[in-house]
Symmetry: C2
C-alpha cells in the first residue's frame, strides 16, 4: 500500500515506530504520534464493561487535558487487559516516560494497547525503547507508514486514509490510520483508530464532530458483534494549518439530512464546521470499511440499509439483527439470495412492522414484496451477490406523522462482512 | 433409535405417518397424532413477527378449543410461510379434512408445517393422503416412530422422550417428539415439539405448567440465535389414564427453587401438580437437549450457567450473549479454554457487574478470578473441553438484599452448541 504524500500530512505532527520486542515475530510493535504543539483532543472508547488499563487511563487523560494533548503512544502484542494493578502501573509508566521524552505532562499522553489479554505487560521493553523512538520521529510519509504497521495484529494489511478541506480559503489536512479485523485469535483484539488534523477547533466541538461521525462510521460496522476491551478512536487537532478556528455552532444539530438540505444563507462558522465534519467522515468511513473488508475470512463487504422504519432506533435494531445473524452471514458467504433468513432475522429484532408492506432488494434485485417472494432469477441474483461489496435494502414501508399532512420515515445503515468457514478456522484453532 | 415400549405410550392416543409427496426424496412427510377423546391443550408458538399460516391458525384453534382438542397434523417439506391467502386456505383445508376424517370440528385440530418457506403449498397432496392416514392410525410404538421421522427435515435422526409419574397411585404417561437442528438450509426450518399425556388436567393449569417448563427447557436452548417463523410446542392431555384430575393450585408460583425446598405438609393437589410438572420437564429437557446436540455441525453441547447475578434477567442476558458470541462458539469448537472471549461477551451484555468479583470455570477448571486469569494447565483444560457435554460457569459474585440481614443472588442456565466450519458449510452452500 502506498504512503501518504507530503501534502496529505497535517502540519505539526511527527510519527515514529519501532520493534521493542513485544511481538514474538520481531515486527514493529510500538508507535508514537506527536503533535509539536498542544492539540485539542476527543476520543471514544469501548463500551465493554471489561476495560483494559490503557482505556481507563486514557479516558481520564483526555478528560483532563482535552485542550493540550501532545501524543498518542500505542503498542501491539499485549492488550494490557485483566492485568490488575501492575497493568495500570505499566500504562502510567508508559505515559510518564513518553511525556518526559517529548517534554510535557503525563496526562497529555494517550496510551493504547492491543494484542493478547490476561498476560502481564513487559513494560520495561516499552520504556527502554521510548527514548530512541521519541528522538527518531519524523514528518515523512514513511514514518507514518511505519506507525500503521506497528499497530497491526492479525490485520492482513495496514489501513490509512486522508482528506482535506478548505476553511476560509486555507487548506486543512486530516490523516488517519486504524487496525482491526474482528476480535482476533489468540484472545481478542481491538479496533484502534487515530486521526490527526491541523485544523483549529475547540475540544467541545471536536467531541461533537467525532460523536456525530462515529455513529455513522465506526459505530455502524460489525464483524462478529463482539466488542473488545481496548477499542479506542481518538482525534487530535493542533491548528498548525493556520486556518480560521472552527467555531461553536448555535442551533439545531447537524444530521446528515441537514447537510444534504443545506439552505442558502448558511453562516460562515456553520459552513466551516460542516466542511470539517464531512472531511472527518470521509476519513473515518474509509477506515471503518477497511476494517470490515479485512474481517477474518471475509470475502465481501455487505451494506445493510433498513428504510421506512418508524424511528432511527427501529431501523438500526433491525439492521444490526440482520448483520449479526449467523444464518444471514453464512448465506452471504455462499452468495445465496436467501430473503427468508433476512426476513426471519428482522422478525426477531423486537421491532413492530408489517411483513405485508415490506420489500427486500438484494444486490439491486427485488426479491420480496407484500408478504411474498417475487419471481426473480436466482441464478442472476447469485451472480450479482458474488461482488466484493453488496447492498441489502429492506424497506419496511412504515410512515410516521411529522407535521400537518406530512409523514416521514427513518433509516439506518450497517456495514458488515460475510461469515466463512475460514472465520471459524481462524477462531477455532487451539492457542499454542 | 429405539421405539417406545407399549407401557410408555399414553392411553387413548393413536399415531400415523405417510409419504404424501411433499419431500422430494419420497420420505415420510405427513404425520397425525389423534386423541380418542377431547383433550386439554396448551401451546407455545414462535415469537417471530413473521409467522406462517399454520401458526396463525393453530393459535386461534387452541384459544377456541383448549378443552376439546382432538389432533395434531404435521407436514414437513414445506413451511407454508410467506404464501399469502392461499397458504392460509391450505392450512384451513388441512384442518377441515382432518376433522372430517376423525369426526370432530376443524378448530379441534392443530396444524403444523416445516420446510422451505415462500413456496406455494401443494395442499392437494396432503388432502388426498389424509383419508388413508386417518384410517391407518395405531397405538403401536412403530406408528409413533414413523411420526418422529415424518416431522424431520435436516435432523440427523428422530428425537423422542418419555416419562411417567404417579398421581394418587395411578400411572400417568407422557410421550413427546421433536424436530429441529438450527434454522436450516435451504431457507429456514423450525423447532416443532409435541407432547401427549393421559393425565387429566384443566387447560389453564396445563398452560401454566407448559409455560413454566418451556422457560427452563425449549426457551433456554439456542443453536444460532435465529428463531423460525413456524416454531410450535404443543401438549395434549386427554385424561385416559383414569388418574385423579390435577387441580388448580392456590398460592405462590412454582419456581424450581420452590420445588427443591418443598416443605412438609404440601397439599395433595400441589404434590400432583409438581409431579406432573417434573415429568413434563423431563420430557421437554430431553427433547430440547437432543435439538442442541443435533445443531448443524455441532460437536458438543455447552451448558452456560451464570450465577451470582442481581436478577434472573441479568443472568439470562449474560448467558445468552455468551451463547450467541461467534468468538466464544468458535473457541468452543476448538476446545480452546479462552476465558477472555467469555468475559468480553459478558461485558457487552448490557448488565452491570464487577469483573474483579467474577469467577469463570470451564469444564470444571477454574480459569479466572478477581479480575485476572488463574495459572491453570491449558493442556488439561483443552482435553477436558473436548467432551461431548461441557459446562461454563460464570459467577458474578453479586448479591441483592432479600430480607433483614439476608441477601440472595440469581442464576440462569442456557444450552447451546459449538460453532464449526461444518455449520458454515451447511448454511453457506448455494441452494440448488
Amino acid at each position: 500500500m502506498s504512503t501518504p504524500r507530503p501534502s496529505q500530512i497535517p502540519r505539526g505532527f511527527r510519527f515514529a515506530a519501532t520493534s521493542c520486542g513485544l511481538k514474538k515475530t520481531g515486527g514493529l510493535d510500538l508507535a508514537l504520534i506527536v503533535s509539536d504543539t498542544p492539540a485539542s483532543a476527543a476520543a471514544v472508547f469501548t463500551t465493554n464493561l471489561v476495560q483494559a488499563a490503557p482505556v481507563v487511563l486514557s479516558r481520564e487523560h483526555v478528560r483532563k487535558s482535552e485542550q493540550r494533548m501532545r501524543a498518542i503512544v500505542v503498542n501491539s502484542g499485549n492488550a494490557n487487559c485483566c492485568t490488575g494493578r501492575e497493568g495500570m502501573r505499566a500504562s502510567q509508566d508508559t505515559a510518564a516516560r513518553t511525556a518526559r521524552e517529548i517534554g510535557c505532562e503525563a496526562d497529555e499522553i494517550i496510551v493504547c494497547s492491543t494484542g493478547v489479554i490476561g498476560v502481564p505487560m513487559q513494560v520495561e521493553k516499552i520504556l527502554s525503547a521510548l527514548p530512541e523512538l521519541a528522538g527518531s520521529r519524523a514528518v515523512r510519509g514513511e514514518s507514518f507508514d511505519a506507525v500503521t504497521h506497528a499497530i497491526m495484529t492479525t490485520d492482513t494489511g495496514p489501513k490509512w486514509a486522508a482528506a482535506q478541506c478548505r476553511i476560509a480559503g486555507k487548506m486543512v489536512r486530516l490523516l488517519g490510520c486504524a487496525k482491526g479485523a474482528g476480535m482476533i485469535h489468540p484472545n481478542m483484539a481491538t479496533m484502534l483508530a487515530f486521526v490527526v488534523t491541523d485544523a483549529a477547533i475547540a475540544p467541545a466541538l471536536l467531541r461533537r464532530a467525532l460523536r456525530e461521525v462515529a455513529a455513522r462510521t465506526f459505530n455502524s460496522i460489525t464483524v462478529d458483534g463482539d466488542t473488545s476491551t481496548n477499542d479506542t478512536l481518538a482525534v487530535l487537532a493542533n491548528g498548525a494549518s493556520g486556518a480560521r478556528r472552527i467555531k461553536r455552532v448555535v442551533g439545531r444539530g447537524f444530521s446528515p439530512d441537514n447537510q444534504l438540505g443545506r439552505k442558502k444563507g448558511t453562516s460562515a462558522p456553520e459552513a466551516d464546521y460542516r466542511r470539517f465534519v464531512s472531511a472527518l467522515e470521509k476519513v473515518c468511513r474509509s477506515l471503518a470499511l477497511a476494517i470490515v473488508a479485512d474481517g477474518e475470512g471475509a470475502q465481501r463487504v455487505v451494506e445493510i440499509e433498513v428504510r421506512g422504519a418508524r424511528s432511527d432506533r427501529d431501523a438500526r435494531s433491525i439492521a444490526l439483527t440482520i448483520a449479526h445473524s449467523p444464518l444471514v452471514k453464512t448465506a452471504l458467504a455462499g452468495a445465496d439470495p436467501n430473503w427468508g433468513r433476512i426476513l426471519a432475522a428482522a422478525g426477531r429484532a423486537g421491532v413492530r412492522f408489517d411483513p405485508n408492506r415490506t420489500r427486500i432488494t438484494l444486490a439491486g434485485i427485488p426479491v420480496f414484496r407484500r408478504g411474498r417472494p417475487l419471481d426473480f432469477d436466482e441464478r442472476a441474483a447469485h451472480q450479482a451477490m458474488l461482488a466484493k461489496h453488496i447492498c441489502i435494502v429492506m424497506d419496511l414501508g412504515e410512515r410516521t406523522p411529522k407535521r400537518k399532512l406530512e409523514t416521514t420515515s427513518h433509516a439506518a445503515r450497517i456495514y458488515t462482512c460475510d461469515f466463512t468457514a475460514e472465520y471459524v478456522r481462524i477462531n477455532a484453532s487451539y492457542r499454542t
